[in-house]
């Protein structure tokens, strides 16, 4: 526990120091890496901790992005308010999906969300009078300055804050319910856990952070297109990030996202082959090391003592 806090502190310090070292373009890459880190950790919270596999994270991010962008453009809403509205819009959509699909067990969520992502992409494309579709929506920037440093610190702040909230939720009794549902849904139900309610809750929280990441991205990057933001291969890359980092750890998701994003920039010379490598890494890690690549290394070095915890502990 203590070790974790110290580790997190050092990681944040390094994060804060990044703009001192990186030049403009690599700072941009760092911002994008943190954006993916937020998406990946929101996905990990849902998949790794409560066992629900959604392919809609990018689409929910897209809903956040477009909501926020359109509110600023058409209603002249203040940027920060729009950012929150974007996140809330994703949350509401997440709630609707949850109510519709999470009553059922089995692969329904995965099936529905993959189709839902496509629906969002098609709708944003079709309503081009409003969204400009594939032509790209020009979005006002968050700050007037050209410098990337303020964006970097904003994104870092959002990420750290979000991780803190997710971590708190996961350590609370709700987190234990999530895990109980993941391990043994029937047993959890028998023990009196309202399975559907907690499943929906996990989904809604995760949607909020996806939406938040998306709305920030919109006001950072300045141009939105549905195809590049939420195409299925992009969701694949996001999942590869989480899986490489370790599907059962938020820190793993962050590390995985940072690693993959930097590698994909660094390996540009390999062109499309770099995505082949990520795809291969994804399936091999799933097959042979289900806890990811980074998390097991961490465990070996840190040799963490496992704290036995029960629902009763959490309630106390």
């Amino acid at each position: 526990m203590k070790k974790n806090v110290i580790g997190a502190g050092i990681a944040i310090l390094i994060g804060v120091a990044v703009p001192l070292v990186f030049r403009s373009y690599w700072l941009h890459v760092a911002i994008i890496a943190l954006y993916y880190a937020l998406l990946a950790s929101s996905w990990t919270m849902l998949a790794g901790f409560s066992g629900q596999f959604s392919f809609a994270t990018m689409a929910l991010g897209g809903i956040g992005a477009y909501t926020s962008a359109l509110l600023v453009i058409n209603v002249q809403l203040p940027m920060w308010l729009a950012l929150i509205c974007g996140a809330l819009a994703a949350t509401v959509v997440g709630l609707l999906i949850g109510v519709l699909v999470l009553r059922m067990r089995g692969p329904y969520l995965a099936l529905f969300t993959i189709a839902f992502s496509e629906l969002v992409r098609i709708t944003l494309n079709a309503e081009y009078q409003l969204t400009r579709g594939d032509m790209g929506l020009t979005v006002p920037h968050l700050y007037t300055t050209v410098s990337k440093t303020p964006y970097y610190y904003t994104m870092l702040g959002l990420l750290v804050g979000s991780l803190l909230v997710m971590w708190t939720v996961l350590r609370s009794r709700y987190g234990l319910f999530f895990r109980a549902i993941r391990e043994q849904e029937e047993a959890a139900a028998v023990m009196g856990v309202n399975v559907v309610r907690y499943k929906i809750m996990a989904f809604v929280i995760s949607s909020f952070f996806a939406g938040l990441a998306g709305s920030f991205f919109a006001h950072y990057i300045g141009t939105l297109t549905p195809n590049s933001m939420m195409e299925i291969p992009r969701m694949g890359l996001l999942i590869a990030m989480s899986v490489i980092g370790g599907i059962e750890s938020l820190a793993g998701a962050v590390a995985g996202a940072v690693l993959v994003e930097f590698l994909q920039e660094y390996l540009r010379a390999l062109e499309m082959w770099r995505f082949v490598i990520f795809g291969l890494a994804l399936v091999l890690i799933l097959r042979f090391s289900q806890n990811g690549l980074i998390y097991p290394i961490y465990q070996r070095f840190a040799a963490r003592r496992v704290e036995p915890r029960t629902v009763a502990d959490a309630e106390a």
């Binding site: 110290i6 941009h28 032509m135 939105l224 590390a255």
Partner: protein, 399 residues
């Protein structure tokens, strides 16, 4: 967390090494932007890249320094375009040329303006690119309005009454759609009859256009002209399915493949016999005059690739030359000096004498090359090269 730290360390190291590479003051860096992979039009991008390389190796040196050409892949995605422009600005490029997709160009001009990086758009037609009057943005390709108003004239001149279109939802496609709505719909054709223009907008991933084409087929009177305002796969599929349904090309109805994809050999691979008598447009055709410069360029390009270049390659080639000459004339790589030189430039290129207009009326004319030409051609045999196709318009050029 320890691993996380190690990672950050490793990444930091990697980045420092990466950043230090290729940072040398003894060369002039010219940037290129083009779609080199999907979902962009990679065929055209590849062609443009080769043409840029040809131009650079011909020029050799600028201001007595060697040239380094750095071509970035924009994948046909606006965000990638923004990132590519930023990478080029960070690398210290003196100027950038290229681009094929209007939506991407539209994102790139923002960076060009923000970071004061001269940008010559080679092959993106949307009016808005030059209509924003950004001082750092120039264009060699024709603007949509410049050319498609002339297409409207042609449609009226052939006496068409019922024109139908399937339009891709991009700046380029919708821009053309707007031009036709304004200059064709409800206007009188050569016989004095009003022209009816109907269009359907579709997304780039649609593959079956049959229901909409059947609807067009059931119109009465039968359409005179089907406008296929798509690029890439969609452009091929519309010509193919139009043919399969017996809608066009035939005595009653013509099909006009508006996108550049109809100039490549792949067009014939996919549309086969339905491409015979189909119509398309090109910015270069031998009947427009074959200057020694074109001859030389074509021969070199064909020797290098075994393919006939399209005007996208020629535009990219000329753009590099124009940029290089502007830097020489400016005597430095300072962006404002280059812009000033570009505003005064006169360069005899493959496509003609290139210069940039300073007019702000009409909107799209600013920093636009007004001499950009485009003609309407018709294929008359299966597998025909576009250079052998018949010239339809302008009529004055008919042999």
């Amino acid at each position: 967390m320890k691993t996380f730290l190690t990672f950050m360390g490793v990444i930091g190291l990697v980045v420092c090494i990466g950043g230090s590479l290729g940072w040398s003051q003894d060369q002039v860096i010219l940037g290129g932007v083009a779609p080199l992979s999907a979902p962009g039009a990679a065929e055209s991008g590849a062609e443009m890249k080769i043409a840029m390389e040809m131009a650079v190796s011909e020029i050799g040196q600028i201001l007595g320094k060697p040239i380094k050409l750095q071509v970035e892949d924009t994948r046909g995605l606006p965000e990638e375009g923004t990132a590519a422009m930023n990478r080029l600005a960070d690398a210290g490029a003196a100027g950038v040329v290229g681009e094929f997709h209007s939506a991407v160009a539209n994102a790139e001009i923002e960076v060009a303006n923000q970071r004061k990086l001269p940008l010559i758009i080679a092959e993106a037609w949307a009016d808005v690119i030059t209509a924003k009057h950004y001082p750092y943005v120039f264009r060699i390709a024709p603007a949509n309005s410049l050319f498609y108003t002339k297409v409207s004239d042609w449609v009226k001149a052939i006496g068409a009454q019922n024109v139908v279109a399937i339009v891709e939802n991009t700046d380029w496609g919708l821009g053309i759609d707007t031009v036709f709505k304004e200059t064709l719909h409800d206007q009188k054709n050569i016989d004095g009859d009003p022209v009816q223009y109907t269009s359907i907008v579709a997304e780039r991933t649609v593959t079956d256009f049959t229901p909409q084409l059947l609807r067009y087929k059931s119109m009465s009177p039968r359409p005179d002209l089907v406008m296929d305002i798509f690029t890439g796969t969609g452009e091929y599929l519309i010509v193919k399915q139009t043919g399969e349904l017996g809608l066009a090309p035939n005595r009653e109805t013509l099909v006009f493949a508006v996108g550049t994809s109809a100039l490549y050999p792949e067009y014939w691979e996919t549309v086969g016999k339905y491409g015979v008598f189909s119509i398309t447009k090109t910015g270069y055709h031998p009947l427009l005059g074959v200057t020694p410069a074109i001859k030389k360029f074509n021969a070199e390009f064909e020797a290098k690739t075994g393919k006939t270049p399209t005007f996208a390659a020629m535009e990219a080639y000329d753009s590099i030359h124009v940029l290089a000459q502007a830097i020489e004339q400016a005597g430095s790589t300072a962006s404002d000096a280059i812009v000033a030189a570009l505003e005064k430039i006169k360069y005899d290129g493959v496509l003609g004498t290139i210069y940039f207009s300073a007019d702000k009326k009409p909107d799209y004319m600013y920093h636009q090359w007004p001499g950009a030409k485009a003609v309407i051609i018709q294929y008359t045999a299966e597998g025909q090269k576009y250079t052998d196709a018949e010239l339809l318009w302008p009529a004055a050029l008919m042999p």
